[in-house]
Amino acid sequence: MAKPILANACALAATAEEAAYRITREIGSRAALILALDPSAGEVVDRVAERPWGAARFFHVAALAGDTLERELADADVAIMVATADADGAAAESIARACAERGIMTAGLILGEQVDVAAAVSALRPYARNLMVTNDEDDVAEVLRALRA
């Protein structure tokens, strides 16, 4: 095998100067569904939804009518369930099953102090592949921004 002779052909190319030669790529928005599982979570989601987002769509699970969830999931690639201590575990299960059938990643954000939301955490644990328990409402927007929602 030929030995590399150009600077970019070895590990030394990890310089700031060489980084300028990285190919610029378009990074599209993530098609994220944000689903509030209870009324308190709905208030948070409504506040977050007022900010500018790419392809994120926001819903209250209790208000989903008919086959709305199925239609919305058709082109989604991540479903983020937002809950508080009053989370509806049955809703989380049905969302998770629908996502699993379609190969859609699920995540859960549970807002509140750990001791207050233990039941909600247990309810969501089987269904959210990634779960965050936080007492900081800003985490909802933070996660969405990080995911380019």
């Binding site: 070895c10 700031a16 983020i80 001791v115 644990r125 996660v143 990080a146």
Partner: protein, 428 residues
């Protein structure tokens, strides 16, 4: 994804930067105790948080960490003579004590008080465990000394190494928080590494390559739990703590020693990785220490006489395509430490986080960045002391445990995640 300005906020740690001010509220490792083994040891150059310093030990064995350069003409004190309770510049003989006070200017008259007007910046340097710790902040905000368990146990129960990593501290730290890469990048080590193999938990790891992740707040930082299926009705949890700003622990395996890291900025393009292993209830065996020194477990195999790993960027990390083909290593690079470092260095000295495409399994990293950013801003704007300064936040552990599926790892493991002197760690 981070905005460019947030990326800069969290990666720049030099004097006068917001994240640098944050680091200057903590005791941080400056060098290993072995680097200054005795009174009047040769001085050691130390660069930390983009400040160039010299560490030395005076004739009474006291440690000093002062500005590297002589106040006279700016020559490096590394060439200096350490003797008679001070370091004397090799150029014109100016002499300084461990507090940076100039105590002799040979060219001045003997009764001159000129020397009393010369002082170099100095920082405290204190030994706790195998590490010499320093505090680069204001003296009035100086917290009590660190109380991490690895540096509180008896000397025969702990071992610390260090290695140079050629990347910004944050991408190194993020590797310590992100356990989702372990099943891929480090898959070879679970079967063969003498510091990992044989643990029952390894089989859970290897049987379930798609773990679920759960992130929970801790007083000093975060706990990140990774769960995999175990026997019927149970999950195998591996719980990684992060204590702000730069301390992480790896969940243990069986009765092997438990390990972790401290990620310390040298400057914005380099960091020191301090790697420790300890056992809370027994001495490390000769075999374990030998394995650690040979670069097994999470330690590195360094070029003799240096803290630079043999697998470094100058030699393409000694890439072994045959070992990769045979499945002994996933990336072709030997050793967990340099498997991590090679990929993190390949991202560039400071990765451009505005171009990332994170996924929800990166939640631990997302939350850690948010917590770090908020702490930096709260300190900068309101003077709020950040999490992790209080030594109570240091008394944590990692854990590996099998729990009934309905149990919360954070509720069930409160004791397991708390350092308890003389009590074994919870491990599978």
């Amino acid at each position: 994804m981070l905005k460019t300005e947030t990326n800069e906020l969290l990666t720049e740690t030099g004097p006068g930067t917001a994240c640098g001010d944050l680091f200057r509220r903590y005791w941080i490792p400056a060098l290993l105790a072995e680097e200054l083994p005795e009174a009047d040891s040769p001085p050691v150059r130390v660069k930390i948080l983009s400040e160039r310093l010299i560490a030395f030990r005076d004739s009474d064995g006291r440690y000093g960490l002062i500005d590297e350069f002589c106040a006279h003409r700016g020559a490096s004190l590394w060439f200096g003579n350490v003797r008679e309770c001070g370091i004397r510049c090799a150029y014109h003989g100016w002499k300084y004590d461990i507090d940076g006070n100039c105590i002799d200017v040979p060219s001045e008259p003997e009764n001159s008080n000129f020397k009393s007007k010369v002082k170099l910046t100095s920082y405290p340097l204190v030994r706790v465990g195998d590490i010499l710790w320093t505090y680069l902040g204001d003296r009035e905000s100086q917290p009590p000394l660190p109380e991490f368990e690895f540096c509180q146990v008896a000397p025969e129960q702990t071992f610390t190494s260090k290695r140079w990593q050629e990347s910004n501290w944050l991408q190194a730290l993020e590797g310590g928080i992100d356990s989702s890469h372990v099943s891929w990048l480090h898959s070879g080590g679970l079967k063969s590494d003498p510091l990992f193999k044989g643990a029952k938990g390894n089989q859970y790891n290897l049987n379930d390559l798609r773990p679920f992740f759960e992130v929970a707040e801790a007083d000093g930082g975060l706990f990140v739990g990774a769960r995999r299926n175990a026997e019927d009705g149970t999950y195998y949890w591996r719980i990684t703590p992060w204590v702000m700003p730069a301390f992480t622990m790896v969940p243990p395996r069986g009765d092997h020693p438990v390990h972790g890291h401290f990620w310390v900025p040298i400057d914005d393009h380099n960091c020191w990785v301090y790697t420790f292993d300890y056992h809370p209830t027994r001495a490390l065996t000769d075999g374990e220490v030998s394995a650690m020194k040979a670069g097994h477990g999470v330690h590195s195999r360094n070029i003799p006489g240096t803290y630079r790993p043999e697998e470094n960027k100058d030699v393409d990390y000694l890439m072994d395509r045959e070992a990769q083909k045979r499945g002994e290593t996933f990336s072709g690079v030997r050793g967990i430490a340099q498997q991590d470092a090679s990929l993190q260095e390949s991202m560039g000295p400071i990765v451009d986080r505005s171009k990332e495409r994170l996924v929800s399994s990166d939640t631990g990293i997302i939350k850690a960045r948010q917590k770090l950013r908020k702490s930096v801003e709260a300190l900068r704007d309101e003077g709020v002391t950040p999490p992790g300064v209080d030594p109570a936040h240091h008394r944590i552990r990692s854990a590996a445990i099998v729990l009934p599926q309905e149990e919360s790892f954070i509720d069930s493991c409160r004791e397991a995640l708390t350092a308890q002197p003389g009590v074994a760690h919870v491990s599978v």
